[in-house]
């Protein structure tokens, strides 16, 4: 019964909207969905390296579908990070499970910096609170808006 529900859900999802995981800056990931299903691990290895900041989340930055995913979006926004790739795991169950296997991390959201797994919402929040996030963004060549704001106030 469960697998029937899964198959039906998948058909409804793919039927209603031919929707591929789309990065936040509007670029469309061009490979077809079946390619993603066939070798998710290999694809993820490429996906996480393609952009400096990569987020796997529920929903989109414009419309997050989860409070924890939304927290990640808000933190990045606070630091002025607008250019990042965001992949909506709710659009693709293979991606959703694949990224958990790939990162060996059981939950969503997941954040990658320069191809390296950083952690989820809790870690990003703590990095934001203890100042580490500003430093890590600096290493990526991204100047945090909070760092700039601090400089301007001096």
């Amino acid at each position: 019964m469960n697998s029937l529900i899964k198959i039906t859900a998948r058909c409804l999802r793919s039927g209603a909207q031919a929707y591929l995981p789309r990065p936040a800056d509007g670029r469309t990931w061009s490979a077809p969905a079946r390619f993603l299903c066939a070798d998710v691990k290999k694809d993820l290895g490429e996906i996480v390296k393609k952009d400096k900041v990569v987020v796997f989340m529920k929903g989109t930055p414009a419309q997050p579908m989860c409070g924890f995913s939304n927290a990640v979006v808000q933190i990045l926004r606070m630091h002025g990070v607008d250019e990042y790739a965001a992949y909506n795991v709710l659009e693709d169950q293979d991606l959703r499970q694949g990224v958990k296997d790939f990162s060996n991390w059981p939950t969503i959201p997941q954040v990658y910096f320069n191809g390296e797994f950083v952690g989820g919402c809790d870690i990003l929040l703590q990095m934001h609170q203890n100042g580490d996030l500003v430093d890590e963004l600096q290493k990526l060549g991204i100047s945090s808006a909070l760092l700039n704001a601090e400089k301007e106030s001096k």
């Binding site: 579908m65 409070g67 059981p106 989820g120 809790d122 870690i123």
Partner: protein, 160 residues
């Protein structure tokens, strides 16, 4: 009415659903002001018990809090799907945050692959806890669990 819910538009349908009479013994024996912040172990909550016991055995914490936050999310009452844990252990000393979280994930691997859908983690050394003894708060739910088949399956798994 669930007192623990935050007033967010998306939560309204959940509140209305919960207003229906629920005939499980869990609901009857539990007053609506159940969502208390302190930590007495609840024998009728097997997942919470398992989480507490596994974290205790693996990490020998100086201090441990396990919070079932399922009531804050779009899942049925009595669910054990969303948790927040605070672990204070000297085993975390010298470890980066991600390594600490991985230790917690590893200890709870079974629960995370079956019924637990979300796990918020605070992993502190005794010194860090001493200088800042506060529990972080989870952000408001945005309803993502509603109609989510993965979550539905996990909830069924928890009841078996």
């Amino acid at each position: 009415m669930q007192g623990g819910l935050l007033p967010h538009p998306l939560m309204l349908p959940t509140v209305l659903r919960c207003a229906r009479p629920i005939s499980t013994s869990l609901a009857l024996s539990r007053p609506l002001a159940h969502f208390r912040p302190h930590m007495d172990p609840d024998p009728s909550r097997p997942v919470e018990r398992a989480i507490r016991s596994k974290l205790t055995n693996t990490l020998q914490p100086d201090y441990l809090e396990v919070h079932n936050e399922s009531h804050m999310h779009a899942v049925p009452p009595g669910s054990e799907s969303h948790f927040r844990v605070l672990v204070v252990s000297s085993q975390f000393e010298g470890l980066a945050l991600i390594k600490r979280h991985r230790l917690v994930n590893e200890a709870l691997k079974e629960e995370l692959s079956s019924c637990v859908h979300a796990l918020a983690i605070q992993a502190k050394t005794p010194e860090q806890w001493g200088s800042n003894p506060t529990l972080a708060k989870s952000p408001p739910c945005m309803g993502g669990s509603r109609g989510d088949h993965t979550v539905e399956e996990k909830l069924k798994g928890g009841r078996e």
